[in-house]
Symmetry: C2
Subunit: 518 residues, 2 copies
């Protein structure tokens, strides 16, 4: 059996509709067979813990998910494969009727989401899906796979942007990214997060991201010596002359680059830059700058690369390294120090058989991990100079808090002992969730990637710098409205009381089962 | 400009030929314009440091790379995009003549590679490319992107396999993987590394990997209560009954699962398993086992999931947790504790203008990072019970070492003070590098994925367990033949002497440039 399907991948790209967990499909059949498929449901995607020791996440990947969803159909070939999937005893999992239904299905729900490039805080809904249970369930894995990863990389990129200040930053991570598509997603997300350009040509072609690159060590090694290699490169690319100097000895390389630069000047061109890729970058950049300046190449820029991340950039800048351009690869494209964002997708409400919407809450041994029931929205308050607070509220049961200008209490979703009071008079208000799909139809126009990037850059100035700090960042007033907090606490107590009743009544599963059968 | 090309991605998959770093294409034009494109060259892909504190890497991804390379062409659309790429002053980087050449080009070289599932040690060539410089350069980034990531995940999977012993292990990582293709690659590599099945349906369809899954917390929350949800699930899937018990309270959930199991037995089926996804897995698995056994469900298996990796599995097994099946996700699919393998691709030899092959070596401030020149092969020696040594040698200049049965000295590629002497009489010998492409044509048959997986499992028994150990693993005798070591040291000294001469002679770039112009 194994390997029978290889041909499909070799000869054309798969449909990607099966890029999901099997349990989404078993649940879909389950809902369908239990007459639950059409129950109206609300799910939220959110994260609990910000990555990299920070306070925020930069949302990304949402439009890529929307592209996927717009084309999401189960092909004949997909259904033919599903017909072969078995459970225990080699019996097929899926019925023919269900697969016929699945083949005709397309997504029918409505989705609100934050715009890519928005800074979001823990427990805030990034995506809200209101759809038949069947539809909402089937999109979970793909939504999480795309948005978790791209948001992670955009967040990392925003930190690198903060570290680099106004310096140019290039993304070089493809060779260590998680596959070709992982690399393409990384380039897109890194650009949204504030990086200036990428080495990934496909990202240039697909997304219009500026691409950069000159030569590798192998170019130098292919020639008889470094000087010959530099001259040859500048001969072919007089207007793309950033020379990698560390193949044999970095400062010797700088001297050779200066020589190549002199010849470029004879042609009316100039040496654009040198690149350092190993060694002590503070020492080498300082020495290289001196060599370049002494030789009259004050405008030649110094590019540094080699396992850089935001912490190292801060350190190098703090030590005064005269580096103009930063090349970041592995640490960005793999989000090396925390390579997964734990975004989750939780059911918050579902209708019963009479069509009444009932709220739902997942409990947990840790109270902080309990989900937030309801139909949630987030309003962000901005006092004209900075964002002052985000209020998560249940838009089905309460007005947008503070519309009347009264000060509002915001309560931490994790620890109710932490709360803030924010003024709501004289603030501008932004609803973070905006329509993406309405009744199965995509409504949001596709964005220019440069606009998404600009949103991130704006966000980085909209929040107090102490909140964006790398070490022990200050908290930001993001949490629940007082009404939502009270509803959630009541619901938690009710759910816990139910469990407690089971236990103290000497619960016997058989009896309860009997009761339900009556 | 940004966003102009979005349409391409929306309406069809890109060709993936541009999934490379821009500098590969600038170098290609450079070689072409400098009459260097046809120079015969040898490159090796290898890694320097094993991940996860271990001693080895499980090679994977090579056949996926071969699939890519077989179809690798620059389309008209690709070349049209490249014509728009600019350097400084907005001048185009690529010439029309070069792009016409590129559009007609296909890979012409020969490639030897280790079989997927082979355990490889630091500095051993995993892939050897012998091709015109132009061709060898153009494939670098894609080779590294695919093989680095898949080898990383296969290695992680092999460690999880070692930890789990004979227990079943499932891979659940798609929602945290680096994009959809990252998730597909992860499932493939995890299977090669020894995992038993995946939740990723696309991986099932594309590669024939067994798929598994039942239901999520949302299934439970969609019903009025947990017991109703379990009964409904078992009604639809009586032969796929693994019930997730921790939505509200894990042990309460086990009691409900037992109730559902009793109803399954009334139908002649049985409760296959319960899944624990949070809480203290030692305590909960112990209590769950007792509840199940007391209720007569001794055969019902306990599945555990939730941020598991090899270290946690060892710990849980060590504490006697009666867990039968392990679900691993994030920690495997992202290789969480070390999410990048630093595999590199280095030029080892190139012909000069007279067609004479000259060896090349990249030096470095760290002697251990210097590359190995020549045309390398690796022979693995097996004494009938265990592998006893790997010898890297230059097959262009020496016979396979130890063919005559004399004991061989193997010298560490990193520190020559470390060396081993291995007997070569009465051993079986395996050449690790095998032909993959000959003169641009793929020659290796595609493998069954189950055979690649079996190779890994065999490898895990072919090496002494102390070498595979997680903490402070024992060293394995993998290194250079005495002759190759001597050649490399001579070459290093020559190169260093060249640099030294430049410096002590008061090197002046201008003068040398003048000399070269004469």
């Amino acid at each position: 059996m194994i390997g029978d399907n290889r041909e499909v991948l070799n000869h054309r790209e798969p449909s990607w509709s099966l890029a999901t967990d099997l349990y989404q499909l078993t649940m879909a059949q389950g809902y369908w067979a239990s007459a639950m498929a059409e129950r109206d449901s609300i799910f939220h995607m959110f994260y609990r813990t910000p990555p990299f020791g920070g306070r925020y996440v930069v949302a990304a990947g949402i439009e890529v998910f929307a592209d996927w969803l717009s084309r999401h159909r189960f092909s004949e070939q997909d259904c033919a494969y599903l017909a072969t999937v078995t459970g225990a005893n080699e019996r097929p999992l899926f019925t023919d009727e269900f697969l016929r239904y699945l083949a005709g299905w397309t997504f029918r729900g409505s989705i609100e989401a934050v715009a890519e490039g928005t800074l979001v805080f823990p427990h805030e809904p990034m995506v809200r899906v209101r759809a038949p249970l069947f539809d909402a369930q089937l999109i979970e894995t793909t939504l999480l796979a795309i948005v978790n990863y791209q948001s992670l990389v955009a967040t990392k990129a925003s930190r690198i942007r903060l570290a680099a200040g106004r310096d140019e930053v290039l993304e070089f991570g493809l060779r260590r990214a998680h596959g070709l598509n992982g690399g393409l997603s990384a380039s897109r997300a890194a650009y949204i997060g504030g990086i200036d350009a990428t080495s990934n040509v496909l990202a240039g072609q697909q997304y219009g991201i500026p691409v950069r690159g000159t030569h590798a060590h192998s170019w130098i090694m292919a020639f008889a010596d470094e000087l010959t290699a530099f001259h040859a490169y500048c001969q072919v690319f007089p207007h793309n002359s950033v020379l990698l100097v560390d193949t044999y000895d970095s400062l010797d390389g700088v001297r050779h680059a200066i020589d190549a630069g002199r010849r470029l000047r004879e042609r009316g061109e100039d040496l654009l830059g040198i690149r350092l890729d190993s060694g002590d970058l503070v020492y080498l950049a300082g020495q290289a700058r001196k060599l370049l300046d002494d030789a009259g190449f004050q405008k030649t820029r110094i590019v540094a690369s080699g396992d850089l991340d935001e912490q190292l950039i801060v350190s190098l800048k703090g030590q005064g390294a005269p580096i103009d351009i930063w090349g970041v690869g592995t640490k960005l494209a793999t989000a090396f120090d925390e390579p997964a964002l734990g975004g989750v997708y939780k059911l918050a409400a579902v209708t019963d058989k009479d069509g009444i919407l009932g709220e739902r809450m997942k409990l947990s041994d840790q109270a902080s991990k309990a989900s937030i029931p309801g139909c949630l929205d987030v309003v962000r308050l901005h006092d004209g100079s900075r964002c002052v607070g985000d209020i998560i509220f249940d838009s089905a049961s309460e007005e947008e808090p503070g519309r009347d200008g009264t000060a509002q209490t915001i309560i931490s979703p994790v620890d109710p002992r932490q709360h803030w009071t924010v003024p709501t008079a004289d603030v501008s208000r932004t609803q973070l969730l905006q329509p993406l799909f309405v009744d199965g139809r995509r409504v949001a126009k596709e964005s220019l990637l440069s606009d998404l990037r600009q949103r991130t850059l704006n966000g980085l100035t909209d929040f107090d710098r102490t909140i964006l700090r790398f070490d022990n960042p200050h908290t930001y007033a993001a949490g629940l409205s007082a009404r939502l907090h009270a509803r959630r606490e009541r619901m938690r107590e009710n759910e816990l009381a139910k469990i407690h009743r089971h236990k103290t009544n000497g619960y016997d599963g058989r009896r309860q089962s009997g009761e339900r059968q009556r």
